[in-house]
């Protein structure tokens, strides 16, 4: 087994474009769930809207798009995310929390099913999605797109470096924004809403308006994640936005620690690192003669070795929630003071 190769693959994945997408999604969920206590189970929907915003607006007219620049496309994705937040928030934010959960998870699935349906083939490319819209994004790359850059044992294509540079700059920006917002009285209102809306109302604050601002802000973060991922792949694909996408982002957030600026970032890196490590490990092990000939292993294990990373992460998450509910970064006191 090649351990140094495994290490390189793990680290590359932990900070790679895929991790960037989940980190951005988790940063948004941190605003929603971590600070405000909103149960948005449709972050994948916001990510889809960001991805298809940039895809539709910047794909060439021959490809069924509008043929504008990618930057305008990203902007369109953000506007669409704001509209989606308003659409979901207006009817549900006045109700108790579970309504938002139901509406968001349903909305994200509706969005996915609509964009992959044949009826909207002309606009969204159906289940094969839209591709080839990101050329002007890569034209702006200061690195050579097809050159391999080496950093010690790590090697990156110029095109991937560009995506990672932009991605991490955006993560840093949203991290700073979150920090500034949450140390302020605005953040204090949000954290108070998370705990007791009526207390906040009784002090004359417009709870609905704050919840809406939080929903929009976190949704926009998710949409940026979707847009960057679509640009990276040069492809917007409906099934990148299944509900599992939302739950992986949640897992990253909880792992790192909700209501902490660094929580979703560290959580996303660790989650994706472990996932890549397990996947590569399983691939290596299951390819060995030893594994193939191990007659004592039940066939269900042998046939489904590829699922093992998910099983492992699922169990790890359960243990985490039981034994360290505040995540890696969270403040234990904040969790423990919960009820009396």
């Amino acid at each position: 087994m090649n351990w140094s190769n495994l290490f390189v693959l793990t680290v590359s994945a932990a900070i790679g474009p895929e991790a960037v997408r989940y980190i951005l999604g988790a940063q948004g969920l941190n605003i929603h769930y971590g600070y405000t206590g909103l149960f948005n189970f449709g972050q994948a929907g916001f990510m889809a809207v960001g991805a298809y915003g940039v895809a539709i607006v910047s794909a060439s007219e021959q490809a069924g798009g509008l043929g504008y620049s990618v930057w305008l496309g990203v902007l369109a994705g953000l506007v669409a995310a704001v509209l989606l937040a308003l659409l979901m928030g207006v009817p549900t934010l006045r109700l108790r929390g579970d309504y938002l959960a139901i509406v968001t998870i349903a909305a994200s699935e509706i969005i996915r099913l609509v964009i992959r349906s044949e009826r909207f083939d002309w606009l969204t490319g159906g289940n094969s999605g839209i591709n080839g819209f990101a050329n002007s994004f890569f034209d702006a790359n200061p690195f050579d797109n097809s050159h391999r850059y080496e950093f010690g044992p790590f090697e990156y294509l110029g095109k991937d470096l560009w995506v990672m540079l932009i991605g991490w700059l955006v993560i840093a920006f949203f991290g700073l924004l979150t920090f500034l917002l949450m140390r302020s009285p605005w953040g204090r209102v949000l954290r108070s809403i998370r705990e007791n809306e009526d207390a906040v109302r009784s002090l004359g604050k417009n709870v609905q308006a704050y919840k809406m601002q939080a929903l929009v802000l976190g949704g926009v973060m998710g949409a940026v994640g979707g847009a960057i991922y679509a640009l990276y792949q040069n492809l917007a694909l409906p099934d990148d936005f299944v509900t599992r996408t939302t739950f992986i982002a949640y897992a990253a957030l909880i792992l790192g620690g909700a209501a902490r600026v660094g929580g979703p970032i560290i959580g996303g890196v660790i989650w994706y690192g472990i996932f890549a490590f397990m996947t590569n490990l399983v691939t290596e092990v299951s390819g060995t003669y030893w594994f193939k000939s191990a007659s004592w292993l039940p066939s269900i294990v042998k046939d489904n070795a590829g699922q093992f990373p998910f099983v492992f992460l699922g169990v790890a998450l359960m243990l985490l929630v039981v034994f360290r509910p505040q995540g890696i970064f969270g403040d234990r006191r904040e969790v423990e003071l919960d009820a009396r």
Binding site: L177, L180, L181, R183, S184, P185, W186, G187, R188, V189, R191, S192, E195, N196, D198, A199, V200, R201, S202, L203, G204, K205, N206, V207, Q213, R333, E334, L337, D338, A339, R340
Partner: protein, 296 residues
């Protein structure tokens, strides 16, 4: 604001000569309710025909458990909606108004079941109460320079109040670490951070350390002296008799009596209502008891 209303006499003097009949008109009412009915399924929790609360006075709202006092508070402050009725604050009808707007108008309430923010420190709870904060807008919050001065003066005011409530030593504790009585105090102090014109306290003394009660009573009186109006629900009859200028009695959702503490204390209907359900005049505070109506 409150100070301007000082020209009318406040306290007992303002109510001199007002007869002790249910629904009687007051010289300068701050809150008026008309035919307010709230039913929960088959139970009529509140059925108030007419009541007026005098500005600049301390009014006690008393009655046996389940009389509908908390529900009536919820209705007046728009935390719950009645099936029928109208009510006004400073002459402004409040039907269908959002609760935060009612609070903004200057009518601020506390809850029988306290709603302190357990994961915020005591001082942060207090700061949250301040109104008109520049740092509470999305854009304003981003630049600390915009709100840091205001935050400092808010903190000063919060510290003064905490000192008056003898809670200054708990400043940095999470509110979740406080006892039930301390939470009551914190909630009241936090409500005062809004500088309300009318403050409505739902059982402010329940669970509060007896040693603190006297200073709390003085504090409530000083609110009146500042020109604010106070309506409070209380089971502690000593408090009711000690500080209230006027007493309104509810039983089974209706008003059954009102008047000065002495008038009400000798009213047979009141004694009846209490004896009927309690057989004991000095009622036990039902800490954490009774449901909280729509505000739970």
């Amino acid at each position: 604001m409150p100070a301007d209303t000082m020209e009318t006499s406040s306290g007992p003097a303002a109510l001199a000569g007002v007869p002790d009949t249910v629904g009687v008109a007051k010289p300068d009412p701050i809150v008026v309710a008309d035919k307010v009915v709230r039913r929960f399924g088959g139970v009529t929790a509140v059925n108030v025909d007419h009541v007026e609360f005098q500005r600049g006075t301390i009014t006690a709202l008393i009655g046996p458990n389940g009389a509908g006092k908390t529900t009536f508070f919820n209705l007046l402050t728009c935390f719950d909606q009645p099936q029928e009725g109208t009510w006004t604050f400073n002459g402004t009808p409040l039907n269908g108004v959002a609760p935060h707007k009612v609070a903004k108008m200057g009518m601020v309430r506390t809850f029988q079941l306290t709603k302190v923010l357990t994961k915020l420190t005591v001082i942060e709870n207090m700061r949250l109460g301040a109104t008109g904060q520049k740092g509470e807008s999305f854009l304003g919050s981003l630049l600390k320079q915009v709100w840091s001065d205001q935050e400092r003066s808010i903190t000063e005011r919060a510290d003064e109040l905490l000192a008056r409530f003898k809670m200054d030593h708990m400043r940095e504790q999470y509110a979740g670490q406080l006892s039930g009585g301390q939470r009551k105090l914190l909630e009241m102090a936090r409500a005062l951070m809004t500088e309300p014109e009318l403050i409505m306290l739902d059982e402010p003394m329940a669970g509060v350390n007896p040693a603190l009660k006297q200073s709390l009573l003085e504090h409530v009186k000083s609110l009146r002296d500042e020109g604010r109006s106070v309506i409070f629900v209380e089971h502690d009859m000593d408090m009711v008799f000690d500080i209230s200028d006027w007493v309104v009695v509810m039983a089974e959702g209706r008003l059954i009596a009102e008047g000065t503490p002495d008038q009400v204390g000798s009213n047979p209907a009141v004694i009846d209502a209490y004896l009927g359900s309690h057989h004991d005049r000095d009622l036990n505070p039902d800490v954490g008891g009774g449901p909280e109506g729509g505000a739970s």
